[in-house]
Symmetry: C2
Subunit: 205 residues, 2 copies
DNA sequence: GTCTATAAATAGATAGAC
DNA sequence: GTCTATCTATTTATAGAC
C-alpha cells in the first residue's frame, strides 16, 4: 500500500528531489481527491514548498498529470502482466486475475484508465503517454486472444466488459457503495475478481 | 435526451421559477462536469442570474445537490421499474434490462449512484435522500430475489456486480474509452445490457 | 532549484437594497 | 424573489530575486 494516506506527515524533499517527490505525491492526491480534485497548489502545500516551485519542473498541471498517467500505465502493465503469469494455465483465471490486479493496483495508487485515458490530457498529444497507453492495451488484447478469442473485435469486446466491471468496482468503492466503509484494495480486488470470473464464464457459453 | 448539451443557450427562468430551473440545470451541469466539477456559481451563470440568487432557495451547494440526488434516485427507480416490467418474463433479461436502463438514464441525466450515494452528501443526513436511496435499493434487491436468489446476501452480491458493471460503462464512456467519441446513452446502454446478460449467465452456472 | 510576490479566475457564501 | 456589492479562500500561472 502506497503510504501517504490522509494524515500522513510528509517530509519536505531534499533539494533536487522535488520533481520525483511531486510525482510520488500526485498518486496519493489522486487517490484521495480523484482527477477533478487534483490541484498543483495542494500538492505544493503537502510537500512544504511554494506553490510556484512545481512550475519549475512542469509546464502546467496537465504536463504533470501526463507524466503521472504515463507512470501509472507502466506500473499497471507490469502488475497485470505479473498477475496473468502467476494465475495458472486457465484462460478465464488469467483474465480474471488481470482484472483483479487492475482493481488492487488502482485502488491503492489512485490512477487508472480514468487518468491514463483522460479526455483532459488528450489535447497534449504526449508521445510517452500514448506509448504507455498502447502498451497497456496491447497486453490486454493479447491476453484476450490467448484466451481463445481470436476474432479481434470479439477480444476487444471482452476487454471492454471486463474493465468496465473492474473500474466500476473502484469508482463505487470510493463512494463507500460496496460497504459501510471503504474496502481495502485487497478486499475490493477479491470481489472484483469473483465478478470477473462470472462475466467470463457467461461469455464463454 | 435531456437538452442543455454544451452550447445550448438557456432561457433565463421567469420570476418565481428559479428553484425548479436550478434543479433542472443541475442535471445538465453534472452531465458535463461530474460531481467534483459541479459549481453553484456556474449554475447561476448559465441561468443568467446573480451568483447570490441560488442561495435564496438552497442553504448551500450540498443542500442543492441533495435535492438533485433525491430526484435522480426517484427518476431512476421509475425508469428501472418500467424497464424490468417491459423486459418479459425471463429473470436474467429483466435484470439485464434494469442495468441497461440505469446506464441509459444516467448517461443522459448525469446523476447516478455516485451522486445519490455520494460520500460528500452523507453528513447532511437528509431524510428525503435517504428514503429515495432506500427505495432504489429495495427495488433492486426485490428484482434479484425474484430472479431466484432467495439468499439475501447472494442477492446483494448480484446487485453489486451488476451495478459496478453498469456504472463502469458510464464512467469509462465519459472518458471516451469505449469509442473514439462518446457513445450515445442508447448505444452505451445496449453494450452494457449485453455485458450484464453475460455476467448474469455466468452467475447462474 | 527554489523562493517571494503577485495577478487574474473562480468558488462559496453573506448583507442589505429593491 | 432577485440584485448588487462584498468577503474570504483557492487555483493556475508568471516575474524576478536568491
Amino acid at each position: 500500500m502506497a503510504e501517504a494516506t490522509v494524515g500522513a506527515s510528509i517530509e519536505r524533499p531534499a533539494r533536487g528531489q522535488l520533481r520525483s517527490a511531486l510525482i510520488a505525491e500526485s498518486f496519493a492526491l489522486l487517490s484521495e481527491k480523484g482527477m477533478a480534485g487534483f490541484s498543483v497548489a495542494e500538492l505544493a502545500r503537502r510537500l512544504k514548498v511554494s506553490t510556484a516551485a512545481p512550475y519549475r519542473h512542469f509546464r502546467n498541471r496537465e504536463a504533470l498529470l501526463a507524466v503521472v498517467a504515463t507512470q501509472a500505465a507502466d506500473e499497471l502493465t507490469r502488475a497485470m502482466e505479473t498477475a496473468a503469469q502467476t494465475a495458472g494455465p486457465e484462460p478465464i483465471d488469467r483474465l480474471a486475475a488481470t482484472a483483479g490486479a487492475y482493481v488492487r493496483h488502482v485502488s491503492d495508487r489512485g490512477a487508472g484508465f480514468d487518468v491514463i485515458f483522460a479526455r483532459e490530457l488528450r489535447p497534449l498529444r504526449d508521445a510517452d503517454l500514448a506509448r504507455a497507453g498502447r502498451n497497456l492495451m496491447t497486453l490486454l488484447l493479447d491476453l484476450a486472444r490467448s484466451a481463445g478469442h481470436a476474432d479481434p473485435s470479439r477480444a476487444l469486446l471482452l476487454i471492454e466488459q471486463l474493465f468496465c466491471l473492474a473500474h466500476g468496482y473502484i469508482t463505487l468503492n470510493a463512494e463507500d457503495f460496496l460497504s459501510r466503509s471503504r474496502l481495502s484494495p485487497e478486499d475490493v480486488a477479491t470481489r472484483a475478481t469473483r465478478a470477473a470470473t462470472a462475466l467470463l464464464r457467461g461469455n464463454a457459453t
